[in-house]
């Protein structure tokens, strides 16, 4: 990449972040509902004096333009503001929720990509056979399944009927007294169902894509050449097809991360997973403006970061791109 290209890329990202910040701000401030009344409502008793105090304390009595200017200035300095509902800096709130969400999304991403590539390749290679049909059908159904419902059904089966895995939460309440190994194991146990839920739907998507990709690659000349050279099917698959066929899948998967974070909101609700998704839902229902604004920004930045990463991986896997 040339210096100019890098510069234009970075400039693009910065502009995008500021545009998103502005959109978010305008959207959220256009909302009905007086945040001062929310706090007051939660305090159990109210009067005008108290409402005025709250408004002054959080700058809610300033004109919108002033609020927006102040907000953008803060965004530039990575100051995400202060949650009046939880009485804590938004940065801290997001920071402590970021881990669980990244863990969930990353696990789901790996599950979906690995599963998708493997099952898709299998179906593609066995094109037209019964295993292809089974995988394709399953993928079709999974792809059309509502995420939250799939999660509930997993809970019904694995937690309530079979009692194998915990249905809710991130870690056992007593985990504070666990050793580090037991703690990790406990988190892993809690992670199984949510990660599978979030991953399965995308796995279906990638499997379909991988299958089509494998079938397409199989028809390419260099595969025919390889076959003519007498290479075994397994060697062809490993040496040529997998790499070329999985490229579009990886690119596509990278672009899906935004949607995946969105899906995490629902999954975290179903499984009471203490991540950004739950935080965003709580913030929306309680009109916690600073948290909402901060979350949107962070989630969008996450998506941008992952897109960049995908791009990088793409270049690694496909050297032809690096030359360009």
């Amino acid at each position: 990449m040339s210096l100019a290209a890098i510069f234009s890329r970075v400039a693009g990202i910065v502009i995008t972040i500021f545009v998103i910040a502005t959109i978010n701000f305008v959207l959220v401030r256009a909302a009905p509902g007086d945040p001062a009344a929310v706090i007051a409502g939660q305090s159990g008793a109210t009067d005008e004096k108290f409402l005025a105090q709250v408004r002054a304390e959080y700058g809610l009595d300033q004109p919108y333009v002033v609020q927006l200017g102040a907000y953008l200035g803060k965004v530039a300095t990575l100051d995400l503001g202060y949650s009046y509902r939880l009485r804590r800096p938004v940065k801290d709130l997001i920071a402590e929720r970021l881990g669980p969400t990244l863990l969930l999304t990353l696990s789901a991403f790996l599950i979906s990509l690995l599963g998708g590539v493997v099952f898709g390749a299998l179906a593609g290679v066995r094109h037209g056979k019964i295993s292809d049909l089974a995988i394709s059908l399953l993928a079709l159904i999974l792809y059309a399944t509502p995420v939250f419902w799939f999660g509930l059904m997993l809970v019904l089966l694995f937690s309530i009927k079979l009692e194998w895995l915990p249905a809710f939460g991130y870690v056992d309440m007593r985990a504070g007294s666990f050793g580090p190994f037991a703690y990790a194991l406990d988190v892993l146990k809690h992670l199984c169902l949510p990660a599978l839920t979030l991953g399965a739907i995308y796995m279906a998507m990638y499997a379909r894509l991988m299958r089509a990709s494998v079938i397409e690659v199989a028809a390419e000349d260099y595969i025919k050449t390889a076959r003519a050279k007498g290479l075994t099917e397994g060697a062809i698959l490993r040496g040529h097809m997998l790499r070329n066929a999985s490229l579009p899948v990886i690119t596509f998967a990278g672009l899906q991360v935004g949607a995946m974070i969105g899906g995490a909101v629902v999954v975290e609700t179903v499984f009471s997973w203490p991540g950004l998704g739950r935080l965003i839902f709580d913030a929306v229902t309680s009109r916690d403006y600073p948290v909402l604004l901060g979350l949107f920004l962070v989630m969008s930045i996450l998506v941008i970061a992952v897109n960049l990463l995908t791009d990088l991986i793409h270049r690694l896997v496909d050297p032809r791109l690096a030359v360009r």
Partner: protein, 276 residues
Amino acid sequence: MNDSIRTFLRQPSGLLGLAILFLVCLAAALAPILYPGSPWDMVGAPLQPPGTAGSLLGTDTMGRDIASGILHGASVSLMIGIASTIAALAVGVTLGAIAGYAGGMVDRLIVRFIEIFQTIPNFVLAILLVAILTPSISTIILAIGLVSWPPLARLTRVQVQSIAAREFVQAARCQGLGSMSILLRHVIPNAISPIIVTGSMTVASAILIEAALSFMGLGDPNYMSWGYMIGAGRTVIRMAWWASLFPGLAILLTAVAINLIGEALNDALNPRISRS
């Protein structure tokens, strides 16, 4: 066109999709006849298992009939799915066509705009929009439409770009036709088939988004919807699995049917890119 219909009808999966969708539409149409009351009516004791006390699929926490809810919910889901897809098409095709045909600065601006919208996690944006505009049928349609248009815009842009470069469009230009009429009369009709395919799939994803919104309590409280039923059944899943299982199956079947139809359409309309 006749060829396309024939190709479509030759595909068993497309026919299966049509058959399921027909059943769903039938359910929506028959709901007022089979279950003349409102699906909100408390017809029996709460949490009755399927098959007992005159309820085919059981009752929920308030003694409402699950079967009645599913039938009445069918029309709501279909309506929201189709309406929000139309909204998404309106925005997506317009922006995509302008970008693809105009090119240059306008194109770059629109592409940047699309990119920004694709960067925001779209379900989160939908939640935010519905929550801010307060949940109702129209705000839900608007929100789903607003988060579903970017892929349609991208597709339209690429299609329009490639069609606009073709000879017959150049010819029309030479004849001195206005941009607007070239776009409407020559470019869009030739670019439309993949857009129709993607649009039909958008209906399925719109139904899924609506269900997820309702599940999270952001549905219109005056319309019985499948997502709402799953959300209301979630808390009692330990005692009454039927309250969340059946509505979920309904969503699943509808979405599968629409996707099957979309794929068959794809094969029929775009024989070049059809799967081998």
